[in-house]
């Protein structure tokens, strides 16, 4: 099927090619750019182009592929870095050099290393549709290889090391079975059912684990103006979160940041298994200067891969930086399509699109009876640091936890700059009780005490503004002193030092030490013998 380009506007082209279907993948122009049909009209179809349209000409050919835009799922994804369309960036680098070219199709198979196949069926055996033929081992993962569409007789089956681009088995001589399969980018993967039991997702960040704990299968956003520490926080969590697989999406952000992250990750070990950190990580890098339509797709490419690992029974964490850049990509495309704009020019379907995306998080019983989870942590970059803007507001309607990053804290170099009054986690009740059970029964008690101290400090601070700290009572000065310690020695956590990772046990010890000392000092004050230096208030 071939037609031609009749119009070009930003990242969209209109084409004349009867017979195209909605969301069909097309190749556009002589350069064979990748595109997707996003609207059908009587005389034309509108195609969103995933690569730069510069240089594209009217009348150039357009071809339908008959398939949708898909993600290739199977062994070999871990440890790799892809662009928003799942093209391996190392492979593109070898093919095209350091600067990115247009019109490159993905390689047949994303896997690059050697893989081993362990068959469960023999030649000549009968298999049903959807039945498992064997599995591919990749580190600690076992990727099942199944007959996808229909059953038959196994006419050929491999064993041991194999070439990822070649088939692993043949059914009835004709149907080739590979180690991977394709999945439509925007389609959520099916599961048995969703569970509502939440267990903690340990991040290694004291402020989060202790005050605003996250649950596996939950969602979290952290909005903050520029420089408030979103990226550093996301990358720290990517390093230290207690999960099986991390999918990290650099969505419309900086190239240097990605380079730094990749370099650092390649030297670190997974704190839970001592294997290289990259062995559990998939990175998607669609930086701000890469095509905007691919930026929009990058989030979906990522979530499809994340769901694939969830379906293997893994606890998966998807981190995206930043969701705002995704929303802006959506806005740019929507405006090129001349759709009716909603608030601040975002399309009116922004909120529903986001809600659908958030809904992909959860703990699920997979189709084959395993349990897997997908947790989403998304940074948001509100213009001017103003949280009333549409993206933050749409997130707030659906998110389970909210870590508000505060510019004033960041300016004082208090990192992570999580505002301990405005932030919340809807998972705290169920998750805290499991910390009580696993770490120490007084975990929740210490939380309450910490909260009270911080609130008390806030009130005292207002008083101190008027009367000066000298004018406070001794007991109040003790509160100020303890709260100051909590802020500086407990909530603040420098990502560039040893302190970057704090497992729950250590978090517990740290807060307990501060609080015990405070209780002690309070008691001694009541008994009337308290040395003066205990009353010093840290600045």
């Amino acid at each position: 099927m071939s037609g031609r380009i009749t119009g070009i506007s930003g990242p969209t082209v209109s084409v004349h090619l009867p017979g195209l279907r909605l969301y069909e993948r097309v190749t556009v122009g002589n350069a064979r750019l990748m595109g997707e049909v996003v609207r059908l009209e009587q005389q034309r179809a509108i195609v969103q182009v995933y690569e730069s349209t510069r240089g594209l000409g009217i009348g150039e050919p357009v071809e339908g592929t008959g398939t949708q835009l898909t993600v290739r799922l199977g062994p070999g994804l871990l440890g790799q870095t892809f662009d928003g369309l799942q093209r391996p960036l190392e492979w593109l680098l070898r093919a095209d050099g350091p600067f990115m070219q247009t019109g490159r199709e993905s390689p047949v198979c994303p896997a690059s290393g050697t893989l081993r196949f362990q068959p469960l069926k023999k030649r000549g055996e009968e298999v049903r549709a959807g039945e498992m033929l064997g599995y591919v081992e990749e580190g600690t993962f076992r990727h099942p290889v199944v007959t996808v569409e229909k059953g038959g007789t196994v006419s050929e089956i491999l064993e041991g090391e194999f070439d990822p681009a070649a088939p692993l088995a043949r059914i009835d001589d004709v149907t080739e079975i590979s180690s991977f399969h394709d999945w439509p980018v925007r389609l959520p993967r099916p599961y048995g059912r969703k569970q509502t039991i939440f267990s903690p997702l340990v991040t290694g960040q004291r402020c989060i684990d202790f005050l605003f704990p996250l649950a596996r299968g939950g969602t979290a956003i952290f909005p903050g103006g520029f420089g408030t520490g979103k990226t550093v926080l996301e990358q720290s969590i990517a390093k230290f979160a207690e999960v099986d697989v991390v999918v990290y999406v650099g969505c419309g952000e900086r190239g240097n940041e990605m380079a730094e992250m990749l370099e650092e990750f390649s030297t670190l070990a997974d704190p839970y298994s001592d294997r290289p950190l990259m062995d559990r990580t998939i990175v998607i890098a669609n930086t701000s200067n890469m095509p905007v339509a691919a930026r929009e797709a990058s989030i979906f490419t990522a979530v499809a891969m994340a769901e694939y690992y969830r379906d293997l029974g893994c606890n998966v964490l998807l981190l995206a930086d930043s969701l705002s850049r995704w929303a802006e990509a959506l806005r740019e495309i929507s405006s090129a399509l001349e759709e009716m704009p909603g608030e601040e020019g975002y399309p009116t379907y922004l909120a529903s699109r986001m809600a659908e995306f958030f809904a992909r998080a959860g703990v699920v019983e997979t189709l084959d009876g395993k349990v897997g989870s997908l947790t989403l942590m998304l940074s948001v970059s509100p213009p001017g640091g103003d949280f009333t803007e549409p993206v933050t507001q749409a997130c707030l309607r659906t998110t389970g936890s909210f870590f508000m990053l505060d510019t004033a804290l960041a300016h004082r170099r208090h990192f992570p700059a999580i505002d301990w009054f405005q932030s919340f986690s809807l998972y705290e009740d169920s998750v805290v009780s499991s910390f009580d059970a696993d770490i120490s029964p007084d975990w929740s008690e210490l939380r309450r005490e910490t909260r009270t101290l911080l609130q008390h400090e806030e009130r005292l601070r207002e008083v101190a503004e008027i009367v000066g700290t000298e004018g406070l009572q001794d007991s109040d000065r003790l509160v100020m002193s303890a709260a100051g310690e909590i802020r500086q020695r407990f909530l603040a956590q420098n990502a560039y030092t040893e302190d970057a990772f704090s497992p729950p046990r250590q978090t517990y010890d740290a807060i307990r030490e501060i609080l015990v000392r405070h209780r002690d000092a309070t008691r001694r004050l009541e008994e009337g013998h308290l040395p003066d230096e205990s009353l010093k208030i840290p600045t």
């Binding site: 009749t6 870095t81 350091p98 103006g225 420089g227 419309g252 990605m258 405006s335 600045t539």
Partner: protein
């Protein structure tokens, strides 16, 4: 390639920098066109949008004098490219790449598209080597490294011009010899300069000891040219960096004029305005400029970017500084109050930050004690500034001795470290002075 000349006189509307032409067969996105005026003179333009046979063109020159009947648009079948050669060193051009130094145009060795191509993120090398600017507040406290993009946030009335000039004059990298026998060059892009400013920068360029390339768009020059000039500058910078292995520092002033040009075109296109009338795609557009800074693994050379941004209404949340801050790797913020007290450069180090500094300093990069000194200066100055606020309320008499010391430290820091006038300080001198100051106040060990 098209065979016949592709010329159309079917203009249907002209509106500021935008021209609609009808009944065009074959046109490309971004294609360069020549717009021929009735009197035979020409200006350049670019295809912005195509629908069937109607083409929207943006002119880079002045559209005054165009008419509907006798004007023509000639399509060239190529997208905008920049001529490149090592002979470009030492030359000055206008915003349309025409020489303004009375020397004939050089003979290009090659051409490259001005919009550039994105650098593959896995090809990037992490920025970590110092570029010395000669200013203590930058080198000591907000260190700039090769491949970084670090803007200067200024406000109207502050000497951002003198700072830009100081950097052009004084910036260096630890010496390195490359293929062309040169290690370090500056590319200077000026947008919307007044005549007075132009004279000032010409003097500066005349004094430069490093090699430079300049693109100068004056206030009287076409506004739309301001969208082009930074891209010429960066295309040249990438060429010098990655074809000739030079460390290239690109100074662009003032990005506020760039953004205003972007807004002007967007308004003319009747696009839905975003915050303060700037277009919704301004983030992506600015990123297509700022993200061109970088280094490449296994290759010599680097592109480092230092854009100057004047914050309208002194407001850091204004879309221009805001979106800039969201893309760049930190910011150098100038303070009005420091300027009023005669401090030059009036860099307020508290809101300033170089996000890539940590990797660029310390043993083997600058000096083993750099981090310690920078942290100590920052912490004590921050305290001093807090105390200064208190002083305004309670007066100096009512303060403790430690607080008084902090006050004095903040004053001394501003006078002795921040303030340096036209003097150039190398990194050692910056660190020595800083250490001496800290020692004097008993804030670090001897």
């Amino acid at each position: 390639m098209r065979l016949s000349e592709h010329s159309f006189s079917t203009l249907v509307s002209v509106q500021g920098p935008l021209i609609f032409v009808e009944r065009v067969i074959e046109a490309r996105m971004g294609e360069v066109v020549a717009i021929v005026f009735p009197d035979g003179s020409e200006t350049e333009g670019e295809v912005l949008k195509i629908q069937d046979d109607t083409v929207l063109i943006q002119t880079f020159g002045d559209s005054r004098g165009l008419d509907m009947d006798h004007s023509r648009v000639v399509f060239t079948d190529v997208i905008k490219q920049a001529p490149l050669s090592i002979d470009i060193l030492g030359r000055a051009f206008d915003g349309s790449f025409r020489p303004i130094d009375d020397i004939p145009m050089f003979v290009p060795d090659e051409w490259a598209p001005v919009s550039g191509r994105p650098l593959n993120p896995v090809a990037r090398a992490r920025p970590q080597e110092l570029i010395e600017t000669g200013f203590s507040t930058i080198d000591g406290l907000n260190t700039l490294v090769k491949g970084q993009k670090l803007p200067i946030f200024s406000v109207a009335g502050l000497p951002s011009k003198e700072i830009a000039a100081g950097i052009l004059e004084n910036a260096r990298t630890p010496a390195q010899v490359s293929r062309s026998g040169q290690a370090f060059v500056v590319v200077f892009v000026a947008l919307g300069l007044t005549h007075h400013e132009y004279a000032f920068y010409r003097d500066t360029l005349d004094r430069l000891r490093t090699h430079f390339v300049a693109f100068i768009n004056l206030a009287k020059d076409p506004v739309v040219e301001r969208l082009l000039a930074p891209r010429f500058g960066l295309t040249v910078a990438e060429y010098l960096a990655f074809e000739h292995g030079l460390d290239t520092l690109v100074v662009i002033t003032d990005m506020t004029n760039y953004c205003d040009a972007l807004r002007e075109v967007s308004t003319a296109r009747e696009e839905l305005p975003g915050r303060r009338g700037y277009p919704g795609y301004m983030y992506s557009d600015l990123a297509s400029i700022y993200e061109r800074a970088g280094r490449i693994k296994g290759q010599a050379g680097s592109v480092t970017l230092l854009p100057v941004v004047t914050m309208p209404e002194d407001d850091i949340t204004h879309p221009i500084p805001d979106l800039t801050g969201y893309i760049t790797e930190g910011q150098i913020v100038l303070g009005r109050e420091l300027h009023q007290r005669g401090i030059f450069p009036p860099v307020d180090v508290l809101p300033s930050l170089s996000r890539l500094m940590q990797r660029g300093i310390g043993e083997g990069r600058t000096r083993g004690d750099h981090r310690e000194i920078a942290n100590a200066l920052y912490t004590h100055y921050a305290k001093g500034r807090d105390v200064r606020r208190l002083e305004a309320i309670v007066g100096r008499e009512g303060m403790s001795d430690t607080d008084k010391t902090m006050l004095d430290f903040a004053d001394a820091f501003e006078k002795e470290i921040v303030h340096q006038g036209r003097e150039r300080r190398d990194i050692n001198e910056t660190l020595d002075r800083s250490r001496a100051l800290l020692v004097r106040f008993g804030l670090v060990q001897q």
